[in-house]
Symmetry: C2
Subunit: 155 residues, 2 copies
């Protein structure tokens, strides 16, 4: 096999490691103690139907609560699903608490997702808006063992 | 609640994100294509009974195969269990493929594990030898949503 030289993503930096949890306030308290960092504010996302969210190809009104711990070299994100059909809830239901995805900051979501589709890695859950940027979860579980997220234009 | 200022770990750098998989050669091929990095060599660990390995307090002869992708800011590790009682096999059996742990490079494993035990975070799986260093998996699943690994003296 030849050595691959063209990363599909255009980056080799993991910008977030995201853990889906049942109770974000409880998890944030424990992470705060563990890391020696202040408890971060939680953010509740807009209802999915306001931001063009889709899950498995269907419109979704899912929301979640998020909290972010800034580490020295990456970010640890906590996610609590708040109802609606989503990969957050599906992973929590299927596997319990655990890492939901590993994220990469990219450009050209449309082009990257086309390239990934050629590798058999398809979009499972997508949303976001022009103000905050776009998230795209790729169902890479069968091939990579974990979902990956493409983030474009996030503030 | 006061702002925590003393990290139990002494670090806020995630040094590895480890994914447990059933077939490391297959997973490494897919990650290689995805990241645009060469397929790394796989390493087979010493039998656990040769390196003082314990799992849930009992000696373990477990082994695994490992592969490492060096990212710009961290390392993505793949783990394939090769038999014997281990957290690698237990997580794979219970949840299927997915992130097994997030790792931190630390000093003073004994002191850190005592501090973590006071937070209700106990050692679940430990091993390594003076030549390569020591790994300690903490069963932080209930509190943090994911296992964390303490690595000391790894080359």
């Amino acid at each position: 096999m030849t050595t691959p030289t063209t990363p599909v993503l255009g980056t080799r930096r993991v910008c977030q490691i995201a853990v889906v949890v049942r109770d974000i306030d409880r998890a944030a308290r424990h992470w705060s103690t563990f890391l020696g960092l202040p408890i971060p504010p939680t953010i509740t996302t807009a209802s999915g139907d306001k931001v063009g969210q889709t899950y498995l190809g269907e419109p979704s009104n899912a929301r979640c609560k998020l909290a972010f711990f800034q580490m020295d070299n990456t970010v640890i994100e906590l996610i609590e699903p708040l109802g609606g059909a989503s990969s957050w809830q599906a992973v929590l239901d299927e596997k319990g608490e655990g890492v939901h995805h590993i994220a990469f900051t990219i450009t050209d979501t449309a082009g990257r997702t086309r390239s990934l589709a050629e590798q058999g890695l398809s979009v499972m859950h997508q949303g976001g808006d022009p103000a905050t940027g776009q998230f795209t979860y790729i169902d890479s579980r069968d091939k990579l063992g974990v979902i990956v997220e493409l983030l474009e234009g996030y503030k």
